[in-house]
């Protein structure tokens, strides 16, 4: 039977069986809710002024409550005034949280816990202003002169984002996208992992492998589960777009069709990368209980890559580290869309990062395919990568011989290619991070890995 037809059948089975599981629907519903809520809720809550409750007791200057209100209005704070007959009643209200601060005799501010800085400044300033007014009257300025002197000046605040032309809402949107990508990659990567281990632990894998090569089984499984992931991410993107249109927050350029399209692309690339890794690790375990421990390196990479890109991008989305994170295949699925959302990625960076990630995935497919094929029929204790690799070595004499031989021939002179690749990457990294040592380290590590891979395949 032809390979594409078998892959199609395997993928179709994955989709059909998993669509029936309630877990998948529940997970999708929750993620949809999170996305829509994170766009709609701030839009509904935003714009409303802050309201503060200020209590007064004792000997309060007559003008003070009016001045506090006026000063508050100048900085978008609505002040509600509460009066108390005695200090005890006022303090009780502070303790109950009914009021934010109690002003005793116009001189003492009582808070529950730490003072709220903004309100403290506001009330203190008002008290100073009232005192100033009283003293000015004593000196002989008349009321009109005084009010023109003390009329509040409206002061605006603008929050600068880390990237030019983008606000904090854009940053939040970018981080949210990264988190959703992390969740989607982890969820669907785990589905590949458990799917592989379940086939092994239920022993159905031997029945399947008698009918098709291991690589078709792995490819179909990854494609089927990936299709579900793709549908989920597209649903989330469409929901995000609809939500932004509904709440009319068109001024958040991070949630634009262009950015969301890239998010979908990066899900596909990131999923391909991690699913292959999870598939290879999953094949090493024989029991479902061992699945997560055996795949710990893949999960660790997934999380470390996420945190590294978060730290790099939130530090300086145009900096060398952010660029490095967005080019490195494991972290690119988080860092690159975040940088695209923040508008800090050059036009050529995304295609370059995508090419790098896909090339790495292609190498990974070759490695993982062999480990997967070697480990699938092994039962008993968890295999090591090395054992799984070796179990397959005799295949070179059978029908796969020609294929493996071809790969080996291509890798002849692989040392040279590895060296060239390492040099290019090292120089790129050094240029991007403006750090020669980092560049040398990355280049050396890459060369060492590449040479090992080449020799292992031989």
């Amino acid at each position: 039977m032809k390979t594409p037809a078998q892959i199609w059948l395997v993928a179709r089975r994955e989709v059909r069986e998993r669509v029936r599981s309630k877990g998948l629907w529940a997970g999708t519903a929750i993620m949809l809710l999170v996305v829509v809520a994170s766009i709609v809720v701030p839009a509904l809550a935003g714009g409303g002024a802050v309201t503060k409750h200020v209590g007064f007791t004792g000997d309060t200057p007559a003008a003070l409550t009016r001045v506090v209100r006026a000063q508050g209005a100048a900085v978008d704070v609505t002040v509600r005034v509460h009066r108390f007959h005695d200090v005890d009643a006022g303090e009780a209200a502070v303790r109950d949280g009914d009021i934010d601060v109690l002003v005793v005799d116009g001189r003492l501010l009582e808070w529950r816990g730490r003072p709220q800085e903004r309100l403290q400044t506001l009330v203190t300033g008002s008290i100073q202003l009232v005192a100033l007014t009283e003293r000015a009257g004593a000196v002989g300025l008349d009321a009109d002169e005084l009010s023109s002197l003390t009329r509040p000046v409206a002061v605006d605040n603008t929050q600068l984002g880390i990237a030019a032309g983008r606000t904090q809402e854009d940053e939040t949107a970018a981080y949210l996208m990264s988190i959703l990508l992390l969740m989607a990659l982890a969820t669907f990567g785990q589905l590949v992992l458990t799917g592989v281990v379940q086939e092994k632990s239920s022993r159905v894998v031997e029945v399947l492998l008698a009918r098709m090569p291991a690589r078709n089984l792995l490819a179909g499984k990854i494609a089927g589960i990936g299709f579900l992931g793709f549908v989920q991410v597209v649903l989330l993107a469409v929901a995000a777009l609809v939500a932004t249109v509904v709440v009319d927050s068109v001024d958040v350029p991070a949630v634009s069709p262009h950015v969301l399209a890239w998010v979908i692309v990066w899900f596909v690339i990131g999923y391909a990368f991690y699913a292959v890794a999870y598939g290879a690790f999953g094949s090493l375990a024989s029991r479902t209980e061992d699945a997560s421990s055996v795949a710990a390196p893949a999960t660790a990479l997934l999380l470390v890559a996420y945190w590294a890109s978060l730290i790099a991008v939130s530090g300086d989305p145009e900096g060398g580290w952010a660029r490095l994170a967005s080019l490195f295949p494991a972290s690119a699925p988080y860092a690159m869309p975040a940088r695209i959302a923040l508008g800090t990625a050059q036009w050529w960076e995304a295609p370059l990062a995508a090419t790098l990630a896909l090339a790495t995935t292609a190498v990974l497919v070759a490695l993982a395919g062999r480990i997967y094929a070697g480990a699938l029929l092994h039962s008993g204790p968890t295999l090591t990568m090395r054992d799984a690799w070796r179990r397959r070595s005799a295949r070179s004499q059978s029908e796969e011989g020609a294929r493996m031989g071809e790969i080996r021939r291509r890798l002849d002179g692989g040392d040279l290619i590895a060296l060239a690749l390492a040099l290019v990457c090292g120089i790129t990294v050094a240029t991007l991070t403006s750090d020669v040592i980092v560049g040398v380290a990355v280049g050396a590590a890459l060369y060492a890995t590449a040479v090992r891979v080449v020799h292992a395949v031989r």
């Binding site: 031997e206 009918r211 029908e399």
Partner: protein, 294 residues
């Protein structure tokens, strides 16, 4: 015809197959015998490319086996396994279409077998909701979904109750009669003796005995005499070239080596007061097996 030609496979220091050569013919049931660890499972897996050979080859109808030929094979592994959460019929149809058959064709075959094995009512149940016996039957259908030309079964009789064993035996005979080559491993030698015409016995990865049962029996010079009698048990020893295989109260089985004198055997038989039955036989499969792997 399935041909093993000097098939060899090592796992580390263990020679699982060591120049294994035999054939399994179409329209025949071939019993594949050998002690545990003899290499039976490895040989069967090798037919499906699940174990890559180090040396030698396996051919089907004279050609090396590729994906095209395998899609016309059926296989029941020793480690039974199906997707536990997948519905019976859907799963069987899936496995059939993986062999490249049209869906409609596979559905027809599957429904036929489900009917035949009284599983039609469970067609839409999940596999893990079925009893152990029914799961075994589904597993058998899984090997038959593509109407295979070669059916390979690893220990098909293990774990079956006597009734299920009879059903399985009838079914295998039927599949062979329809033209398929059927190769199965078993430790139940009596059953193989009744069922098969061809037998292959391997030990330490090498074929130690292979051929039709009649040939194998004829190839052994020694004969067996079984005497059933009433009355006291006499002393059976003292006759040259005659060994006691089994002596119970009322029956004895004697092995006659090549040089044994029939006259001596008859005189031995006369030691019992009353003979009920006296048979002169070639060795049983079980005896051939013991000789071969000793």
């Amino acid at each position: 015809m399935l041909e093993f030609d000097a098939a060899s496979k090592r796992f580390g220091d263990v020679r699982a197959l060591d120049g294994c050569t035999f054939t399994a013919r179409a329209r025949r049931l071939t019993g594949f015998l050998g002690p545990n660890g003899a290499g039976k499972t490895t040989a069967m897996r090798a037919v499906f490319g699940l174990v890559p050979l180090d040396h030698g080859s396996i051919r089907w109808r004279g050609a090396p086996i590729g994906g095209g030929a395998r899609s016309r094979f059926g296989y029941m592994p020793e480690e039974r396994g199906l997707y536990p959460k997948m519905r019976v019929r859907e799963q069987l149809v899936y496995l059939g279409t993986l062999c490249g058959r049209a869906r409609g064709e596979v559905e027809e075959v599957v429904d036929g077998w489900l009917d035949r094995l009284d599983l039609a009512g469970r067609a839409n149940d999940k596999v893990d909701a079925l009893s152990h016996g029914n799961q075994q039957r589904v597993q058998l259908v899984a090997a038959l979904v593509n109407s295979p030309e070669l059916l390979v079964l690893d220990e098909p009789f293990s774990g079956l109750d006597p009734l299920a064993m009879t059903t399985m035996a009838e079914l295998l005979t039927e599949v062979a009669a329809e033209g398929a080559a059927v190769l199965f491993s078993s430790h139940q030698l009596d059953l193989v003796e009744h069922l098969c015409e061809d037998v292959v016995i391997i030990d330490h990865g090498r074929v130690v005995l292979a051929g039709t049962l009649d040939e194998l029996r004829a190839g052994v010079a020694e004969r067996y005499v079984e005497i059933e009698y009433r009355g006291d048990s006499p002393e059976w020893t003292g006759v040259p070239e005659v060994d006691v295989v089994r002596a119970e109260h009322g029956s004895v089985r004697l092995r006659l080596a090549v040089g044994a004198d029939m006259q001596d055997v008859v005189s031995l038989a006369e030691r019992v007061p009353h003979i009920v039955a006296f048979t002169y036989q070639p060795p049983t499969l079980s005896e051939l097996f013991r000789r071969a792997v000793a």
